[in-house]
Symmetry: C2
Subunit: 215 residues, 2 copies
DNA sequence: ACCCCATTAAAACAAACGTTTGAATTTCTT
DNA sequence: AAGAAATTCAAACGTTTGTTTTAATGGGGT
């Protein structure tokens, strides 16, 4: 190969632009220009624009989702061996923390996380479906664990609360890079320079919401 | 005018298609075809595609936002006259309930609410800005009331929790019409046919999250 | 009847889109 | 070194996009 892996460079550029401008507003010409590749290379290596974003998701999720599942299985195992229920905060942490850590693990993963935050609001069913299909096992596993943690709450209640959780998380993930121009910050509010404090805020909020007892 | 108000028909069609397919994927040709109007009518009546979506937001928000503000002012006033703090649930209800009720008030408003749910995840800063600019007073007013309700919590904490709230709300609003194909429902989970029960679920979740005391 | 002005209509604009083609080039295999 | 396979390249494909232009239409006031 002439240059170090055109395929990877296209994936990197696509990941960045899909996150920045959305799927339909990112052009293959813009992506290949950034990747310093020919426009035909996309169809040669991937087949179509849709197959390209599928490959973008595949590359990262096959790394990230096992991390999540392992952490969630660990939560369940430790609880069982301790003869207690899993804690809601442990479950939520297993659900979102890997994503936050993943974000700063390599250059590029930061853009992927932004893309994940956006894709649930993607109007195109086909594109959103590519992501949702791959996340469904995680959602169902999380729901399962929450039922173990909160057996006194009805299943539909937990289902909807998990959806509220997903909404809050994806909204925060997507804001990420563009905190500055997303909202005008009231005086005295600072953007946390590391995401750890934001993660702590988030887990406190979500845990309380999920554990709410009335209604 | 030959037909009853081309301008309104264009607004209706644009509202519906922007909600369904997003801003950039909706073409002016599709919109004018649905509105049974000529393409040039958009530029004649509005000036540009961007000015069109601005008009779509303007038409509904000038009706909806005063409702919200009035209800929030009422929450503050009743609390003051009762010599107590406003309750978090009252504040949140004033923030989201008008939108839920607005949804079923007229034909078309349902599409608008879906559009609102989508637009916060819109990648295009200009388009998202059109909406955010108009909502900023509401956000700040809500934050103000939350400070009155929870004076023991630091301002940044409340700020982030309000953002988590906005994420959860917009995620639910956007799911709305497409519950069926958005996620695959686990067995036994039903879509609520009226939004009242969903609103109750939502308020319980958010209230608990906002009132969480640790961290 | 006339003119005026708001509105509609059809057609064309240049630009950008995803995709395809076929030949040139590089890389690997023998 | 020679042939085969993989990859890159420039160019063009036919559509579609938002926007503009120019002409036609239609009703209300004088």
């Amino acid at each position: 190969m002439s240059q170090p892996d055109t395929k990877q460079r296209i994936l990197d550029a696509a990941e960045r632009l899909f996150a920045k401008e959305g799927f339909h507003c990112s052009s293959l010409r813009g992506i290949t220009r950034e990747a310093e590749a020919n426009i035909a290379a996309v169809h040669y290596h991937f087949g179509s624009k849709e197959a390209l974003i599928e490959a973008v998701f595949e590359r990262r999720l096959q790394q990230l989702n096992p991390l999540r599942i392992r952490q969630m299985e660990n939560v369940r195992e430790v609880a069982r061996q301790g003869g207690r229920r899993p804690k809601v905060e442990e479950i939520l942490r297993a659900f979102v923390e890997p994503t936050f850590r993943f974000r700063d693990s390599e250059p590029g993963t930061r853009h992927f996380v932004t893309l994940v935050g956006r894709v649930l609001a993607e109007p195109d069913d086909r594109i959103r479906g590519i992501f949702v299909r791959r996340m469904m096992p995680i959602f169902l596993f999380t729901l399962e664990l929450l039922e173990e943690a909160l057996p006194e709450l009805p299943r539909p209640t937990l289902f909807w609360r998990l959806h509220f959780t997903i909404g809050a998380v994806s909204h925060i993930l997507q804001m990420d890079a563009k905190f500055q121009n997303f909202v005008q910050f009231p005086e005295g509010i600072q953007v946390p320079n590391n995401l750890d404090s934001l993660l702590a805020f988030l887990l406190t909020f979500l845990t309380a919401g999920l554990e709410a007892q009335n209604a």
